[in-house]
């Protein structure tokens, strides 16, 4: 049990549009072992993003439980979770979401700033992570001066900055061409594994899914192996 770094059991979520209620998640169960990589595929609108939000504690499940490293986070307020989330999770999104006013290195460091002061050790780690994702010479470029693939690699370095136990990646290659997307997935899997972080990768690309240790499908509100 303690090997599970992330578990979600019986997760439920519905949305209401007008009078119609849409059951997005019915009883989704997921377990992630420390350091493993899991891919999740599913049709558009099947609830993959919703599931990741529940696992990240950004949204509350209507039933069941989410546990981080064996400790339940269900019922905890966003405020109480904020600091723990910064240490436990790294997130990567389809649209990168870099802060435009600061350069690549500062964007990576931003994750660490959330936890307190940043010193030379942290700066060195951020620079090393940027080098790991292949952007050593781009550290002082603003996001606007980076390509999509480069921005996503900065976002990956940022997600890894706080040595998270898990990385949740929501279609990280969705905005990238095939070749760049492949490279980004290589970086995500490689660097994640080196840092000892488990990976939950939501993707539409079967080849990317195949690179993960395990593949799941989200269908009709449930996860199937």
């Amino acid at each position: 049990m303690s090997d599970f770094v992330l578990t979600g059991t019986g997760l439920r979520k519905h949305y209401r549009s007008g009078e119609r209620a849409i059951e997005v998640l019915r009883a989704a169960d997921i377990t992630v072992l420390a350091g493993e990589s899991v891919s999740i595929r599913g049709e558009s609108g099947s609830g993959k993003t919703t599931l990741l939000n529940l696992l990240a504690g950004l949204d509350a499940s209507e039933g069941g439980e989410v546990a981080w490293a064996g400790a339940s986070i269900t019922g905890l307020s966003n405020n109480a979770l904020a600091g723990r989330r910064a240490r436990f999770l790294g997130m990567v999104f389809q649209a990168y979401y870099l802060i435009p006013e600061i350069d690549a290195l500062a964007n990576v460091l931003m994750a660490r700033r959330m936890l307190g002061r940043v010193g030379t050790t942290e700066r060195a780690r951020a620079a090393a992570l940027l080098a790991r994702v292949g952007l050593a010479d781009r550290a002082h470029h603003l996001p606007a001066h980076l390509s999509g693939g480069e921005r996503q690699r900065v976002a990956i370095a940022r997600a890894l900055m706080n040595e998270p136990r898990v990385i949740l990646a929501d279609e990280p290659t969705g905005n990238l061409d095939e070749h760049t997307g492949d490279a980004v997935i290589e970086v995500l899997l490689g660097a994640g594994a080196e840092q000892g972080a488990a990976l939950v990768l939501v993707t539409h690309n079967p080849q990317h899914a195949a690179k993960c240790g395990r593949s799941l499908r989200l269908h009709e509100g449930m996860l199937q192996g």
Partner: protein, 410 residues
């Protein structure tokens, strides 16, 4: 530095770019507001000080009068007051109104009889005299204020007739007293309009004669040593007097007038604070636009582990910073502008060909100015508070954003 302050500074001053337009415009707005406020209030303070200075100079610090109207024991009273440590000088006086006639022009000036010897220690009479010397004043002569002399077309050396109220008094008893014929031996100007427009100065003895006071006077003016509190001194003096005499400070006797000056200034400050308020609306709308524009980034901050109130602090701090920077720059700009105020007014006067008018209508051609730390404190505090409040609404909007929805928004 906490991340939200760091981010706030970075949003105000983005890396690798020259200063952001929003920052420049917002700080500029507050700077101008603060500068204008300080310039106007400092000049008003300058005028106020000048007026207070004139009142003090022409009146003495404290006025002691007898409850009965006429004081006969002035020597004792003066000796007693002179003995007090705060006192620099004392002088007796008698004052009232007379009718003055020169040729066929009558006027009803205020007249003040002074003991020249003592008076000079209380009021710098010699400094005010445009023509004549203090010693020229004897019991058959008068000094006229500049405007009075001008309006009556009297020059030094000419004679004027003085009719005192005593004449009417005697007339009731069917006695006829002839008006006194007096020589004008001096013309003075204090710069204080109220005095210059309509005042006659004569010797105390002459005044006693004109008013039938015998050896009595109307009161004693007291000049305090520099830096002494006139109100406090008057109060202490009153506690010592056993009822027959009353001391009034210059502040108390000019209370209404001083109140109006203060009121004018306060109203000015109140109205001008609206400039900063207007600037703050610009700040609020820019920050609000930024919150909407940055919705996704704000969502991301939540996902990275930021708390809603930290996100709020990030935007509030931007308002606060703009307020502080605007206040500091505004004070700097105001002090700079006031340092060159005379150059500025002279240039302005020359450009509008109004230099002569400026000199004619105001006795001074230089703008007075006086800094009040109290005003600086109020202006700085209110501009910082107003600018911070401007950041509050955007901050609240940002804090209410839910990460999930912010990240999903298009």
């Amino acid at each position: 530095m906490p991340w939200y302050l760091y981010l706030a500074l970075k949003q105000l001053f983005p890396s690798g770019r020259r200063i952001a337009f929003f920052t420049l415009a917002s700080i500029g707005g507050v700077t101008l507001g603060v500068a204008v406020l300080i310039i106007v209030l400092s000049v008003m303070n300058g005028f106020g000080d000048e007026i207070r200075q004139k009142i003090l100079e022409t009146n003495g610090d404290v006025d002691v009068r007898s409850e009965g109207g006429i004081m006969y024991d002035q020597e004792t009273v003066m000796a007693k007051i002179r003995g007090l440590p705060e006192v620099a000088a004392v002088a007796p006086y008698a004052q009232g109104v007379v009718m003055l006639q020169a040729g066929n022009r009558p006027s009803f000036p205020f007249i003040r009889g002074i003991d020249v010897r003592h008076e000079q220690e209380v009021v710098p009479l010699a400094k005010f005299l445009l023509i004549g010397r203090v010693d020229d004043l004897d019991d058959d002569s008068v000094f006229l204020s500049s405007e009075l002399a001008a309006s009556m077309a009297v020059r030094v050396g000419q004679k004027v007739d003085v009719y005192s109220p005593l004449l009417l008094e005697r007339l009731k008893k069917d006695e006829i007293l002839l008006p006194r014929e007096l020589r004008v031996t001096g013309i003075f100007e204090t710069g204080w309009n109220q005095v210059d427009s309509n005042t006659v100065i004569c010797s105390l003895r002459l005044m006693q004669e004109l008013y039938g006071l015998k050896s009595g006077v109307h009161g004693v003016s007291v000049r305090l040593k520099p830096g002494r509190d006139a109100d406090e001194f008057a109060a202490r003096l009153n506690a010592q007097f056993s009822g027959a005499d009353r001391a009034v400070s210059w502040i108390e006797s000019n209370r209404d007038f001083l109140f109006v000056i203060q009121l004018e200034k306060n109203m000015m400050m109140f109205i001008m604070l609206f400039i900063i308020l207007v600037a703050s609306f610009a700040i609020a709308s820019s920050l609000l636009t930024a919150v909407v524009r940055k919705t996704k980034e704000i969502g991301l901050l939540g996902a990275l582990g930021g708390k809603p109130r930290q996100v709020a602090a990030c935007f509030c701090f931007q308002g606060f910073f703009i307020g502080v920077a605007g206040a500091v720059l505004g004070i700097g700009l105001a002090v700079l502008a006031l340092a060159f105020r005379n150059e500025v007014t002279h240039t302005f006067a020359r450009l509008t060909h109004s230099e002569a008018a400026l000199l004619r209508f105001y006795q001074f051609s230089n703008l007075p100015c006086s800094y009040s730390p109290h005003d600086f404190a109020i202006i700085t505090a209110s501009s910082i508070i107003i600018a911070t409040l401007a950041g509050l609404l955007p901050a609240w909007r940002a804090a209410r954003l839910k990460s999930v929805e912010a990240l999903r928004s298009e």
